[in-house]
């Protein structure tokens, strides 16, 4: 059980220099909303990123095989399998 980190804005929105050190490599990272635009910005946090598929498609984001595209049912599942959830 680890933490699920949720981001909804591009990375520039966040206090990156304090944030990057709070995310463990075994934590799950989920990008929703405008955070989906540039997935690469968040690669430093975790090799595997979860993307809310619906939000990514609406933004014309090409889905990459190395990322995990999830539905709302899976979003609910991610929060349940995590110890806790942080929406940054």
């Amino acid at each position: 059980m680890s933490t699920l980190h949720i981001f909804s804005k591009p990375l520039s929105h966040y206090c990156i220099n304090t944030l990057e050190n709070l995310i463990d490599s075994n934590h799950a990272v989920l990008l929703v909303g405008d955070a989906c635009y540039n997935i690469n910005q968040f690669k430093q946090f975790s090799a595997t990123l979860h993307l809310l598929e619906e939000d990514a498609i609406a933004r014309a984001i090409s889905l990459n095989e190395s990322d995990i595209h999830i539905s709302y049912a899976e979003f609910v599942g991610l929060t349940l399998s995590a110890q806790n959830t942080i929406t940054w």
Partner: protein, 117 residues
């Protein structure tokens, strides 16, 4: 089956966050889970305004809340956050005015608390 509380921190002008919270809530219910409260805090309290006027091609914010309310999900708003922001707490539509303590109780009894912002 799990018990959730959800909190919404963005104003009704943030249509993107609004639709996401609502779809998440629907997915919780569809998955057989319980939502003990959706709580409006910070700028989120403006969702309880009865003066939202949106064009017909905009996200139908008011209607979406009515649909969630019909599913018997408790919709609460923080009275302190509302008063200092100038919301009319006498007229909050499908939302019920609550204290922060009431929400904190629900949050500490819930399995999961998910914030939307």
């Amino acid at each position: 089956m799990a018990q959730f509380v959800l909190s919404l921190h963005t104003a009704p002008t943030d249509h993107d966050t609004t639709q996401r919270l609502i779809k998440f809530a629907e997915a919780c219910i569809a998955g057989g889970h319980t939502i003990s409260a959706i709580f409006l805090y910070q700028a989120g309290i403006f969702h309880a305004s009865n003066h939202l006027e949106l064009a017909s091609d905009e996200l139908p914010v008011k209607q979406l809340w009515q649909e969630l309310s019909a599913k018997e999900i408790p919709l609460l708003l923080c009275v302190t956050a509302a008063e200092k922001r100038g919301l009319d707490t006498q007229d909050t539509g499908v939302f019920t005015v609550a204290g922060l303590a009431e929400f904190a109780m629900l949050a500490s009894e819930a399995d999961k608390w998910v914030q939307f912002k």
